[in-house]
């Protein structure tokens, strides 16, 4: 930390037009309640594109279920393909919202107030979309529910030793938890909207969802306890979720997968890509809803610092992997590292190292960190890099394992790419719908931020 005087906290996290309770409520609620005055052109354009992509996703899924999982580029050797990488990537993104809400809450990082709401929404949708991919990747998706220990006449239960079962439970519980966490955090704001609504429908709609919230001290008392408890639960859950995803690979015999570093490495990777996605959404929400008073360059600055730390940990993880492969001494492990750098996917691997480890080092510079454009561009690169990392984990090991006779290369098909990009569109579709219905910034938490910062 530098010795020069830091600006007061309130100046770091807000700008003057957003420094009163009323201003905050107006800034956030206006787009929802005063639709006539609000210009929604950008929204409609974005929604049109997102709907188109969602339609493509529906076509992809219909074609997939009608024709079979063979439409993807998978082959006998590389039986897992893009949907698995997409799944890990989406679930990684799905981690960050909860991390921001809970971990930063527990660490008393008050600046999280202006970004945690849409980060949580991101979590919710990303985790949901992530949950679709393993099902789409099944040979017989119609039987996905066999992973559930439901009572059946044959008394067959799932096989509890399989990491996929752990994974199934981890995702299911995480999605349920995310919904609860997000919704409960929303209740005071729904009450605000109910109270500010000028017409009957919004009033009853928000009123019903607000569950009778009156803002009494008793309400706040329960709310605070409940929220804090959930946050305490969330941290281990979020860590376990991605650890389990890591174990999908680590609980195996394969070179490059069978590594004890995988669970923590996956958690950090998830946080990394999740924060990068949050940065991107922050920039869009800030621009789209004119929230500059509540979301400042300082927010980008601190998130860039977190990404910088994560990138260093990622780099260390890669180094550990290479070292472990050499130290392990197994022929296949060493072959694999050689293959990563020189084999059929080498350009992908080099790009991944560049995007995940090299480019984020620019965050050492304050000017880069405080430039929203620069942070957003680097965040996009990190997201690309993290996707590449996930596909590399799947591809490299399966393409180059123990028996050279079965070594093969994966070539993605049209459907592989279509599903990946259309899932982004589906995410946008859900997110844009949400933005039209629910407040994108937590009003009550921002108000509290202002209160606490101005009363220090």
């Amino acid at each position: 930390m530098s010795l020069q005087a830091e600006p007061p906290e309130i100046e770091r996290w807000t700008e003057p037009p957003g420094r009163s309770y009323l201003a905050i409520s107006e800034l956030v609620a206006a787009p929802l309640l005063e639709r006539r005055q609000w210009r929604w052109r950008a929204w409609w354009i974005a929604f049109g594109i997102a709907s188109g992509l969602t339609l493509i996703m529906a076509i992809c899924m219909s074609w997939l279920f009608a024709t079979g999982v063979g439409i993807f580029g998978n082959n006998t050797t590389i039986v897992w393909g893009l949907p698995i990488a997409d799944y890990v990537w989406w679930i990684g993104i799905g981690n960050a919202g909860t991390l921001i809400s809970s971990m930063l809450l527990l660490m008393r990082q008050r600046w999280r107030a202006s970004i945690n709401r849409f980060a949580e929404a991101m979590t919710l949708f990303a985790a949901t979309i992530a949950g679709l991919f393993p099902i789409m990747h099944l040979g017989r998706p119609e039987y996905f529910y066999w992973l559930l220990p439901y009572p059946n006449t044959m008394v067959v239960w799932p096989q509890w030793r399989s990491a996929l079962i752990w994974d199934f439970w981890a995702i299911s519980s995480y999605i349920l938890f995310s919904i609860l966490f997000w919704y409960v955090g929303l209740i005071p704001d729904l009450a605000t909207l109910r109270d500010r609504a000028k017409t009957a429908f919004p009033r009853s709609f928000y009123g019903a969802l607000a569950l009778g919230w009156r803002g009494s001290a008793r309400h706040w008392y329960f709310y605070e306890h409940y929220h804090l408890t959930m946050a305490c639960l969330a941290v281990p859950l979020v860590v376990s979720l991605h650890s389990v995803v890591g174990m999908d690979f680590a609980a195996s015999l394969m070179p490059g997968w069978q590594e004890s570093i995988f669970p923590p490495y996956f958690v950090v990777g998830a946080m990394y890509s999740g924060f990068a996605m949050v940065v991107l959404l922050t920039a869009l929400v800030r621009w789209g809803f004119n929230l500059q008073p509540l979301i400042t360059a300082e927010h980008f600055n601190v998130m860039a610092k977190i990404m910088l730390a994560a990138s260093i940990i990622m780099g260390l993880s890669y180094l550990t992997e290479w070292f472990a492969a050499w130290y392990h001494g197994e022929r296949a492990e060493r072959w694999l590292v050689g293959f990563e750098f020189t084999g059929g996917y080498a350009p992908v691997y080099w790009c991944m190292l560049l995007f995940n480890c090299i480019v984020p080092q620019l965050f050492w510079f304050v000017r880069i960190r405080c430039s929203i454009v620069a942070v957003v561009v680097i965040a996009i690169l990190i997201n690309v890099g993290m996707w590449l990392e996930r596909i590399e984990i799947v591809w490299n090991t399966l393409s180059h394992d123990f028996l050279p006779s079965m070594w093969r290369i994966f070539i993605p098909t049209f459907w592989d790419w279509a599903l990946l990009f259309s899932s982004l569109g589906f995410f946008g579709f859900l997110y844009l719908l949400l933005a039209r219905i629910f407040p994108m910034v937590s009003m009550h938490e921002t108000r509290r931020l202002i209160y606490e910062e101005s009363h220090q």
């Binding site: 006998t76 099944l138 040979g139 067959v156 096989q159 394969m254 050279p404």
Partner: protein, 945 residues
């Protein structure tokens, strides 16, 4: 039914509620009444035919032809459907084993593209219509003593068919019969003419040999003798063999023989005669022709080794070498007192293939042919282009083609007749050594087809007896006394006519031919060869064979043009680049396949592809090399031109990496006899005593295990096709293979553990690991272990996560990416007739399900049923897996490792026993014996120097 018709016609406008209900009611009535009995009287199946138990497979001995020679077979039939071919242990060309072609005959039988009814150019006709037309035509021929009658066939060894042809030729003295094989043995027969003055077939006895020199000969490669030669070879290649055979091979391109030799030299085909002369000179102490140093050294060592092993040394010359070299081979063998027998050839063709075709061509040119009957052959496709038969046959006024398919030749004929498959026919065949056996049908003809005996009967014009009677007459005539019916029954049962092998001919001393050294052609030469999957093209429409990988390139659904790396560099051709090869006016366009071990200056391509009228499977696969062939030089075309196109295409391959560098050699250990004697063991020999945290599982009943001897695996693929036939493994087609998918439960990996030495083959079925990595990762417990150590896959339970295959270090699991056998079949393989080929004891897997080798669990259970009936444990050898049964060299052994006395237990104690990737702690039940080599120490000294 009549009530339905009385209903008023229901126009849409008139359809009110009442009418709708009425229609519904009558619809229901119609559905119910349609389940009634047929009008004709039907007979219930009250009493079972003797010996038939529904669902229990029965075996029938029969004989299958390859290039005209018979290979004995036991066809397995379930409820009247033949579903699998096994070898007949009593037959000398089968010895209980099969080859890829025999296994695939099931697919040929049920091929939906078979000719189904007689046809003229425009119409489907009846056999009666054809018989009338033929009768009229034969009347004309009778008037001119058959001067216009020509019969064209492939090689014929059937005593009955030969008898019919001879009778016809007596009846029509001016008629002519021409027989030919595209994969011709002319050179060998001509060589015997040169050496002995007679047309003789040589039968080398590999089992009695200690040193063998193969000059472009391929006894282990595909062909009618493959099984017998491979078995004899394998008897001399086990650790216990005394002496252990040493094989030298000199050849221009890779053959299976070359791959299994101890020393191999790649040499231009023109120079092989110089090599042979050098060997002769060294043996006789004469002046050797000028040869490059390594070649001369190789020749010297070969000659010394041959000479040192007199009466156990053998020189083999391949069919692609000229007659003089065959004669020289005979002379050398005579000097060595080599283990070779001679017999009179089993086919009745005195002309030789080339001369037969040339005479036919001249007859057609002179307009002498009025009536042409082509039986089972395809001369429009598979004869040398310089004869121009393709154009000439179409001009014959009355031409008949009898064949399994309406092929290229049928297309040119006025009558196209469907021929019955061997499994639908009565006939007889002789094996390469003259042993006769009966062809017995297992099923009534599926279509309105006849066989060659019927056609010849029609041509003879009498009221022809059935093929069954004809065959019986042939054999009855040869037997004097004794009860014929008893003999007949016994012969049918055994599948071999007892004591019918041809008598050995005493030859006397051969003449030494005058062979002059040759210069290698300066330009590129193109070498042709039989294809290991489709032979000469006759199997091109067989989906199992099209998907059966070439042993070296592992290419399926087509072939490439093979180049040496030196030539590829010189001509600037990349691997898989489409190249154009032309000579005179004929040209080929195919992907180049650059491969080590190919002689410089010679490119090679297999015959049998580029069919245009094969059927939905074979049409347009690969390129047709016959147009480059000439009668004068059927195997080697000198001075071809070659041009790269720069276009690189994806070639459907089942294996992409072949090299084993550094530590990778552990995957395919190779030991020399000397190393074995010194006590050297493969790295994963002691895999079972590795430390483990897990409690040892006690298998207290049976513990099934398999041992595969890689020394004996010659890479012939018979096991691959056998497994496919036994286990209903679907064919997926070239596009899916190019996607990197394949369904074979058993694959034969080819590895190059040492670039200086021939490659080796390693069959890889499921390892049935005791600590199977696939089992704990399956979320729905579809991959489970049974009490006898089998790793079982429950298809019904599988939801297709594919974690099992991800975690399988051997990658032996196969996934149904599409419904390959379940509604999304390749080409016409979803036809009902193909479904009839399925083994009813094995589930046909649906889409999205993982499958893999089961150790033929259905065969284990069948053996268990038998054992339980007599209340005994399953005896050793009672369970024979499909791959094991097929293997010509007995490289695969299966059994119960809990039994101390079983063959498998003995093999697992061998010093060169090892487990693939044993160090992973998977404790596989499938284990291997390391490849043993017997190199000549003299050769190694040179290599080190």
């Amino acid at each position: 039914m009549s009530q339905v018709k009385q209903h008023p016609p229901a126009s849409p406008s008139a359809l009110n509620r009442r009418a709708a209900l009425k229609l519904l009611g009558s619809g229901l009535a119609l559905t119910l009444s349609s389940c009634g009995r047929p009008h004709e009287e039907i007979v219930p199946y009250v009493e079972m035919p003797e010996g038939l138990v529904p669902g229990v497979p029965m075996k029938f001995a029969t004989t299958l032809a390859l290039a005209g020679y018979g290979r004995g077979a036991l066809a397995i039939s379930v409820d009247g459907r033949p579903i699998k071919i096994e070898g007949n242990p009593r037959h000398p060309a089968s010895l209980g084993a099969t080859d890829v072609f025999a296994e695939a005959e099931i697919m040929s039988l049920y091929d939906p593209d078979r000719a189904k009814a007689p046809r003229t150019k425009d119409d489907v006709v009846t056999w009666d219509a054809f018989a009338q037309a033929l009768f009229a035509q034969m009347q004309q021929e009778k008037a001119r003593h058959g001067a216009g009658l020509r019969i064209v066939t492939g090689r014929i060894t059937s005593p009955t068919l030969l008898r019919q042809i001879n009778a016809l030729l007596t009846q029509y003295p001016e008629a002519r019969w021409y027989s030919y094989e595209p994969i011709s043995d002319d050179a060998a027969f001509d060589g015997s003419m040169l050496a002995y003055g007679r047309r003789l077939a040589a039968l080398p006895r590999l089992a009695d040999a200690a040193v063998v020199l193969s000059l472009d000969a391929d006894p282990l490669g595909a062909g009618p003798r493959q099984i017998a030669d491979a078995r004899a070879f394998s008897q001399r290649r086990t650790r216990q063999a005394q002496p252990f055979l040493r094989l030298y091979t000199v050849e221009p391109e890779w053959t299976l023989t070359g791959a299994n030799s101890d020393h191999r030299l790649a040499l231009h085909p023109d120079l092989i005669r110089n090599f042979a002369l050098a060997v002769t000179a060294q043996m006789q102490g004469e002046n050797a022709p000028d040869l490059p140093d390594p070649v001369a050294h190789f020749a010297k060592i070969c000659a010394d080794d041959l000479k040192a092993n007199k009466s156990k040394a053998l020189v083999l010359v391949g069919r692609r070498q000229p007659p003089e070299l065959h004669a020289l081979g005979h002379w050398l063998n005579a000097q060595l007192n080599a283990p070779v027998d001679f017999i009179a050839p089993a086919d009745g063709n005195p002309l030789g293939d080339a001369q037969a075709l040339q005479t036919l061509s001249r007859d057609l040119d002179d307009g002498r042919v009025e009536t042409l009957a082509i039986v089972g052959a395809n001369p429009v496709y598979d004869t040398p282009a310089d004869l121009g038969l393709a154009h000439k046959i179409g001009k014959v006024a009355f031409s008949v083609h009898l064949g399994l398919h309406e092929n290229e030749t049928a297309d040119q004929c006025s009558w196209r007749l469907p021929m019955s498959h061997t499994l639908e026919s009565w006939s007889d065949l002789r094996a390469f050594d003259g042993t006769a056996s009966i062809v017995q049908p297992l099923i009534l003809p599926l279509y309105d087809s006849r066989q060659a005996h019927d056609l010849l009967g029609l041509m003879a014009g009498t009221i022809a007896p059935s093929a069954y009677d004809l065959v019986r007459q042939t054999w009855q005539a040869q037997r004097s006394g004794g009860d014929f019916d008893t003999w007949w029954k016994q012969t049918l049962h055994d599948g071999v006519v007892a004591n019918s092998a041809a008598a050995r001919v005493a030859t006397g001393a051969p003449k030494r031919p005058d062979v002059k050294p040759a210069q290698a052609a300066r330009g590129l030469s193109l070498l042709l060869g039989a294809d290991p999957s489709v032979w000469d093209g006759r199997f091109a429409n067989n989906a199992w064979l099209q998907e059966c990988p070439h042993p070296f390139t592992k290419e399926v659904w087509g072939h490439g043009i093979y180049l040496s790396p030196g030539d590829a560099r010189r001509l600037n051709i990349a691997d898989r680049e489409t190249i154009e090869v032309w000579h005179d006016s004929a040209s080929l366009r195919a992907p180049a396949r650059v491969r080590e071990g190919q002689a410089d200056g010679v490119i090679a391509v297999e015959l049998g592809y580029g069919r245009t009228r094969a059927g939905a499977i074979g049409n347009g696969i690969g390129v047709n090399a016959y147009p480059l062939r000439t009668t004068a030089s059927p195997w080697l075309i000198s001075d071809v031109s070659l041009r790269g196109t720069g276009e690189i295409r994806n070639v459907p391959l089942l294996q992409h990496n072949f090299d084993l560098e550094g530590d990778g050699k552990d995957l395919y250990p190779v030991l020399t006899l000397a190393e074995l004697a010194q006590g050297k063991q493969p790295p994963d020999h002691d895999y079972e005593n590795r430390p483990t945290l897990y409690a040892k599982v006690n298998y207290d009943s049976y513990a099934w295990a398999m041992v595969i001897d890689t020394s004996l695996c010659i890479g012939c693929n018979a096991c691959v096709v056998a497994c496919q036939a036994e286990n209903n493994v679907p064919v997926i087609g070239p596009e899916e293979v190019a996607m990197g998918r394949d369904m074979h439960w058993l694959r034969v990996d080819r590895y190059v553990p040492d670039p200086e030495r021939p490659p080796g083959f390693q069959p890889v079925p499921c390892m049935h690991c005791e600590q199977a990595p696939c089992e704990p990762v399956c979320p729905v417990a579809a991959s489970v272990h049974d009490g006898e150590g089998l790793n079982a896959q429950v298809y019904n339970r599988c939801i297709g996560t594919r974690f099992c295959q991800s975690n399988c270090p051997y990658k032996v699991r196969r996934f149904n990416w599409f419904g390959y056998a379940d509604g999304q079949e390749y080409a016409d393989l979803g036809a009902d007739s193909v479904r009839a080929s399925h083994n009813p004891d094995v589930t046909v897997r649906g889409r999205g399900v993982m499958e893999k080798c089961t150790y033929c669990i259905q065969r284990i259970n069948r053996a268990r049923h038998h054992a339980e009936i007599v209340d005994q444990p399953i005896p050793d050898g009672a369970v024979v897996t499909a791959c094991q049964a097929a293997c010509p060299t007995r490289a695969i052994t299966f059994g119960n490792r809990n039994s101390k006395a079983s063959a498998i237990t003995a093999l697992r104690r061998e010093p060169h026993h090892y487990a693939l990737l044993g160090h992973l702690g998977t404790r596989p039940r499938t284990t291997y014996l390391a490849r043993l080599r017997n190199p000549n120490p003299a050769m190694q000294e040179k290599a080190q120097a």
